[in-house]
């Protein structure tokens, strides 16, 4: 009855693509941040799936997933702070309008 590994992988790939699409296509920085979260979670699914199916005795897969979650949390915190800071100065969160680094 078990679900084969590939299904998880497909799910993760789909999720990753949605995230990728979000990052590249959305203009809103918050939405981009959300999309990044999707991609991270796609990776988590992969990590957990591989751990469960290939090396269930070892803890490393789970540990990686936990680290990714922790990093994602930190990243969101920093990312949101930056976006708020940008918003305060430029009154916008649209990525193509934040082009201070342009030559």
């Amino acid at each position: 009855m078990s679900v084969p590994l590939s299904w998880y992988l497909f799910l993760a790939a789909a999720l990753f693509c949605i995230g990728l699409y979000g990052v590249l296509a959305r203009k809103n920085a918050i939405a981009m941040l959300l999309a990044v979260e999707l991609m991270l979670n796609a990776v988590n699914i992969n990590l957990v799936a591989f751990w469960r199916y290939l090396r269930p005795v070892q803890m490393s897969g789970q540990v990686f997933a936990v680290i990714v979650i922790a990093v994602a949390a930190a990243e969101v915190a920093v990312g949101l702070a930056l976006i708020i800071s940008v918003f305060r100065r430029r009154k916008t969160v649209m990525a193509d309008e934040i082009d201070l680094m342009k030559w």
């Binding site: 590249l24 981009m32 934040i98």
Partner: protein
């Protein structure tokens, strides 16, 4: 005794230092010190002289003392003093003339007169205007540099005494040059006058020509014999060695060449042709200076040196011929110029040159004693004549100031005339001096000494010298009488001459004393065979001075021919001079004012063209400008220029284009252009970057997949 001789030159030197350093503000003290010093030296000289007279064969047992002066290798070069018969008699006349001239200078420089109205140091005093009995007139004023004069003549006397007492050529040369310096300083005493300043330089430079040769001669002698003391040099074996050694110059022996070099020094110092040009100009100095330096002592020192070196000179007949020629030629040459001069002092200057020529000529024909005799008598009467002329000038100046006719030259004889009544003492003493110079028979000293020279020339068959000197002696008598006639006889030709006045006793006393010697000194050297007089007085001078040499030279046999000649030329010349000039009133009436004589045979001009101008050209243009600045510095600057252009080449052709532009700037520019191209892709949009990086990732992944797996 030798201690006293060592001390002889010192008082005047100390006087010089005392006056320059301490007493120059106090005139009376200054001249007191100077005259006192001259007096001390005089006293010492007389003691030495009298002691010398008392010694049998003094020529062999002379006074000598020496001490170590310069260390040379293992040995010492010694200097010392020596009084032998020659230097004893020289000392005698030097001491007398020096003392007389010192005393004379007091009066000459107007001691006791007020300070001038606008007198300046460096110019002769112009006189002071005083108001007496309600009307103004000018009286002579005191010399502004009174003390300095006495300091200088003090130093001069030191030089002269040093020269006389030296036992060697080196200290003799020291005295010689110190006198040269004093001569320079005293000719240029009134240095504010350009003529005096130029005359001083001319005198120093002309005599220095001779001195330089003399120094060479001394150096030669020293390296040849290893000594400079007369005692060593005149040893027969040394002289023989010198006479035997040959030199490449003129075929002379070493002795001859050394003698010639030393003699050139004499030519310069005693103003012999061709170095005679300085002496007439030297008359720019005050008259006591002319009397002392340029008549009695310094120029005589030249002859003294030649007489002193006679044992060496006489070794080579070639040198002796040159000496005799120069002496005889100078005697007649200078006498010819003297007849056309109008300045009272210049006549005497040329006369001095001429008389010194007599002595040199005498030396050249081996008439050793005659030369020394004439040297001494000449010193007395020429000093007398110069001091007399100074007295005349002084009297004339008094007249000029009294009348206020400042255009009248007090030295021009044509402005004088009739002074015998105004200035009797000066006249009689001048007459004695003039007659002595002319060789007035029997009475005067000049006759005996000149006669001895002629007799010597005649006896030894030197016809050329004999005739030349006879003619010169005739000229001498002629111009002397011309001078006496124009100055003292006849009637005054100017107002100034009418108001001329006899000078003070400090000036006339020396005249009288010197006049005594101008007459009497001849009596010590009357030849034994002279008719009548020969037996009355012994020929002391010949015995005494001749004793200086190893063998006393024999007295020439008596002959009537030279005696008749000297009688004829002396009396004839005097008579002719009186006959011609008693009528002459102005220079225009004087038929001897021939341009060539007046202009001294154009020697000044010729020397100027031949030596002075080229030297100045070499100095100002050739050496400093062309050689140093243009050639040497030019080479340096070219090197600098070359280095500079080499540097520019490296900078402009290599550093700048290749290293700076190609390598340095090129790299930078390449980075810059590529950067500015690449920066186009930096849009600043995060999503653009993400797409790019994803595309790149995919591309690399695909590449990796196909190429490496």
């Amino acid at each position: 005794m030798t201690t006293l001789i060592w001390l002889l030159p010192l008082p005047p030197l100390l006087a010089f230092f005392a006056i320059t350093l301490f007493t120059n503000k106090n005139r009376a003290l200054s001249h007191g010190i100077a005259v006192g010093a001259a007096g001390l030296s005089w006293l010492g000289s007389m003691i030495v002289f009298i002691r010398a007279l008392g010694i049998e064969e003094f020529g062999k047992h002379f006074f000598e003392s020496a001490l170590n002066w310069l260390p040379v290798g293992e040995a010492w070069f010694q200097v010392g003093v020596r009084i032998d018969p020659l230097s004893a008699v020289t000392l005698f006349f030097v001491a007398w003339t020096v003392l007389m001239i010192f005393i004379y200078s007091i009066g000459y420089h107007n001691y006791g007169q007020p300070k001038g109205d606008d007198d300046h140091a460096g110019l002769p005093p112009h006189g002071k205007t005083v108001t007496e009995h309600g009307h103004k007139h000018t009286v002579p004023s005191i010399e502004p540099m009174y003390s300095r004069f006495f300091a200088f003549i003090g130093l001069f006397a030191f030089g002269m005494f040093t020269l006389v007492v030296s036992n060697n050529l080196l200290t003799m040369f020291v005295g010689w040059e110190i006198m040269g310096l004093c001569s320079y300083l005293l000719i240029g005493f009134w240095y504010g006058k350009p003529s005096a300043r130029n005359a001083a330089v001319k005198a120093f430079m002309t005599t220095r020509v001779g001195d330089v040769f003399m120094l060479l001669g001394i150096a030669y002698l020293y390296s040849a014999t290893g000594s400079l003391s007369f005692t060593d040099i005149f040893r027969p074996e040394v002289l023989e060695a010198l006479a035997a050694a040959s030199t490449p110059i003129l075929g002379l022996s070493a002795a001859g060449l050394i003698g010639l070099l030393l003699f050139i020094g004499t030519v310069g110092k005693s103003a012999q042709w061709p170095l005679h040009i300085w002496l007439p100009d030297a008359m720019e100095g005050p008259t006591p200076v002319s009397a002392m330096i340029h008549a009695a002592t310094m120029v005589s020192a030249g002859v003294y040196a030649a007489i002193r070196m006679f044992p060496l000179l006489s070794l080579d007949s070639g040198t002796m011929t040159i000496v005799a020629f120069i002496g005889a030629f100078t005697a007649i040459f200078a006498a010819s110029i003297a007849v056309a001069q109008n300045d009272i002092k210049r006549v005497l200057a040329y006369s001095t040159i001429s008389q010194l020529g007599f002595m040199i000529a005498a030396l050249g024909i081996h008439a050793y004693v005659a030369a020394a005799f004439h040297l001494i008598t000449h010193s007395f009467f020429k000093a007398l004549l110069f001091l007399g002329s100074g007295s005349v000038i002084h009297g004339m100046e008094h007249g000029v100031m009294h009348t206020g006719e400042h255009s009248v030259d007090p030295q021009d004889m044509f402005n004088m005339g009739g002074l015998r009544k105004k200035m009797p003492i000066t006249f009689w003493t001048f007459l004695i001096g003039g007659f002595a110079l002319s060789g007035f028979p029997v009475l005067t000293a000049g006759f005996w000494s000149k006669d001895e020279i002629l007799a010597d020339a005649f006896a030894h068959g030197h016809w050329g010298v004999f005739l030349t000197l006879a003619v010169a002696a005739f000229f001498t008598a002629f111009y002397t009488m011309r001078q006496i006639t124009l100055t003292f006889l006849g009637q005054p030709r100017t107002k100034a001459a009418e108001h001329a006045q006899e000078t003070t006793w400090t000036m006339t006393l020396p005249l009288i004393i010197l006049a005594v010697f101008a007459v009497s000194f001849g009596w010590v050297g009357i030849p034994e065979h002279f008719p009548l007089l020969g037996n009355i007085l012994p020929n002391w001078f010949h015995e005494f001075v001749g004793g200086t040499l190893v063998e006393i030279p024999e007295v020439p046999a008596f002959s009537w021919i030279p005696l008749a000649t000297s009688l004829f030329v002396a009396l004839g010349g005097l008579l002719l001079g009186w006959l011609v000039y008693r009528k002459v009133k102005t220079p225009a009436q004087d038929r001897l004012q021939i341009p060539v004589l007046k202009n001294k045979w154009y020697f000044d001009e010729a020397y100027d063209l031949l030596f002075v101008k080229p030297s100045i050209w070499i100095a100002e243009k050739f050496t400093s400008l062309y050689m140093d600045r243009t050639i040497i510095d030019g080479i340096l600057h070219s090197a600098a220029r070359f280095s500079l252009s080499l540097g520019h080449f490296f900078r402009d052709r290599i550093d700048k284009p290749v290293i700076n532009e190609l390598l340095g700037d090129g790299t930078g520019n390449a980075v810059k252009t590529s950067g500015s191209g690449l920066r186009k892709i930096q849009t600043g949009r995060i999503q653009y970057y993400m797409v790019v990086s994803m595309v790149v990732l995919i591309v690399f992944a695909v590449l990796y997949f196909f190429l490496f797996s």
